[in-house]
Subunit: 425 residues, 2 copies
């Protein structure tokens, strides 16, 4: 029996985390399937940000560093993120960008390798990793005399040799939504004496993550995707307590100093994760991120990440099934793995022709996904749809697929206005 709109509505009625949607401001007339790129605004953000601007900055001014807790914000926000990624309080700071944080942890990992295993001179990563991760690794390799090996997912296991110092992976692939088994891969890496660095950009807040149980070594992630922290929100960094105090990182700014207000000329790294801080953090943007995390953590009383994960899989299953039932014969392929254990919280479709234009036609109809170009060889052009279980409903999925069906059946996507490319996000 095919799925109907009424089915989808009944799924919404039975959804145990449905009420969380009320915590977010969803733009009217829009089905927003791009929370994997920029999460929506929590309803508390405007008032909170206004308060930080007008009262904390405008009135309290310099006193806010103590009075309004600005100094502790990276740790306070970090502690909230910790609850989503299987880390303990005091192990995470919200700071800088994902790229910068990756530079810090990769630097620390290479410092460990240089000391413990100086003959290991390679970093392994995935060719389809998010490019900024590869750029940062490439730059560090160039600086430190290491080599960066880029492999396909199925080649990872075989690439873990005695020459490798670090395995750097993004947990959920930004293009395809494919998810690695963090525990198994970390164990395989450790068995060969290799440190692991995980980028959680598409998994923190999207899928259950347990860095402690997985015995991961380092992790970074993004504040503005599934954590709904606002455009360019500070990112985060976690280091396994086994390593935190053993090695420093070279972005050794005063916020990572043991006594920043002693103003001593020599650097003494703070104990713990604070040494992964560098300079002063953007407090207004950090306050918005704090709002996003509060909305996310409201799920804890409704089953937390496990409940969200269950809904996320139900949403992506539904989308896949509806596309198969209602858009058959239109040349769509599925780039996202079918197996639940290998899937993040997004679904990526492929099409030989018109992927970009179809996404534009959908956006014009208020269904916001995005497009990622393929490399022409292994990877096809992708239509990317993120399903954030906090605020996307099952009826949303129905309507999204219905719009997709109409765009394809009418050939609407062939209109010239949908085929003019501009900068994409």
């Amino acid at each position: 029996m095919n799925i109907t709109l009424a089915h989808c509505q009944s799924f919404d009625n039975q959804d145990p985390v449905r009420e969380l949607r009320e915590l977010f401001s969803l733009p009217p007339g829009v089905i927003y399937l791009d929370g994997n790129s920029l999460g929506v605004m929590p309803k508390t953000a405007p008032a909170r940000v206004a308060d930080v601007v007008s009262r904390e900055w405008g009135t309290d001014l310099i006193q806010s560093w103590n009075k309004n807790g600005w100094f502790q914000m990276p740790q306070k926000v970090g502690n909230k993120i910790a609850r989503l990624i299987g880390a303990n309080a005091g192990e995470v700071v919200a700071t800088d960008s994902t790229s910068i944080n990756l530079f810090k942890v990769l630097s620390a990992a290479l410092n460990i390798a240089a000391k413990d295993a100086p003959r290991r001179k390679r970093i392994v990563s995935e060719r389809s990793n998010f490019p900024t991760d590869l750029y940062i690794a490439e730059a560090l390799c160039k600086e430190r005399g290491f080599e960066l090996d880029l492999v396909e997912p199925e080649e990872i296991a075989a690439s873990l040799t005695a020459e490798v110092a670090v395995l750097m992976l993004t947990h959920v692939n930004y293009r395809t939504g494919a998810m690695h088994d963090m525990t198994a891969i970390t164990a395989a890496a450790h068995a060969e004496g290799i440190l692991t660095v995980w980028d959680l950009a598409h998994s923190a807040g999207a899928v259950p993550v347990d860095l402690t149980a997985a015995k991961a070594d380092f992790a970074v992630g993004c504040g503005y995707k599934y954590l709904n922290g606002g455009p360019g929100a500070p990112a985060f960094v976690w280091v396994n307590p086994l390593h935190t105090d053993r090695f420093w990182q070279p972005l050794a700014g005063w916020w990572g100093h043991a006594a920043p207000f002693a103003f001593t000329p020599d650097y003494q790294p703070a104990a713990g994760i604070t040494r992964y801080m560098c300079g002063t953090q953007p407090m207004i943007s950090l306050a918005a991120l704090d709002c996003g995390l509060d909305a996310m953590l409201a799920a804890e009383s409704l089953g937390g990440m496990l409940a969200l994960r269950k809904k996320s899989l139900a949403l992506t299953d539904l989308f896949i099934q509806l596309v198969q039932e209602r858009c058959a014969g239109h040349g769509l392929g599925l780039a996202t793995p079918s197996a639940h254990g290998q899937r993040g919280s997004q679904v990526c479709l492929t099409r030989e022709e018109g992927a970009y234009a179809i996404v534009q036609a959908l956006i014009a109809r208020g269904v916001v996904g995005d497009y990622r170009a393929g490399d022409g060889a292994r990877d096809k052009d992708i239509l990317r749809f993120g399903f954030t279980p906090l605020y996307i409903g099952f009826e949303d999925v129905w309507h999204a697929v219905e719009h997709l069906r109409q765009v394809l059946e009418t050939g609407e996507w062939k209109k010239p206005e949908f085929n003019r490319k501009h900068a994409v996000t």
Copy 2:
């Protein structure tokens, strides 16, 4: 003839940039002499930030990257900063923190040195430079096999030898307010084949800066002090066009890539200053910085930085004179140079005893300055007062000194509540 309150009021009446004060939200009952640490809020900031949050993020969401110009914000804001520091449009980006930007330019400078003058293995800086600058330099020296020489201001000239690759200085000293002659020192460094890196944290927006005329090589600076960009606002970075495209920097994130949305696995640095970008920037905080710059640039029609500098010197002259006239016999010393050419926009007083408590007593009276501990040997404890010509008036100076006089004469500062130390900024 001693100066009176009436004199100060007449100075305000004759002040050609007095109207700029109306652009800022000054907390009632406060004389804010800490704009050198955190600038006050421009009146446009609350509405602008609210719009970025509620409309650009809340409603337009991902489309804002193009529709609302998010991608170009670092360059757009950078172009405004350029007008204040003698740089050209396209030469400055507003991004990351001062510490991170210093790491980028110092890395690039060391890369140039390694290529052009591989035998030069030293960085020279000032012992009383802002510590985060020294920490970053120390870390890079450790990574690259360089040595950091810390000297006193009067030793700089003699320290410029054939072993030195880079001279890294803060233009205006954060503790004393002493200002270097950027043009003369840069020329002296270049005569010895040494590159210069300038930190403009206490000079951009405070004193006239002309990086182009000074033939400086690299510069960084802060967004939240005299630029009034809000707490932890993004910082900025400038590179002399002679060097920009010649060398890269290792924080090689996707925002510095020639084609960030081509998602190619290999790094190709963008042309120009954009290659000094790394990851995604905090848009809400960046919008606040944009407001601060607009308020600052409103001075351009009133004589610009030269008019502001004239007022700044008049304010600091007045403060020094009033302290000498009205606080004589209370053991205050002057750490800031008397000569105009060597003075930034702040005045630092010293006292053998009680500097911290006096600052606390003044804050309790609504006169907000700050305290910096001395190292006990060369440097004494400091009472630091910043005079931002955009919004501080001559009558403010009168009242600030009057409060200081009363605090000293009554011994008010000896009260226990002013002698309990907490974290200071």
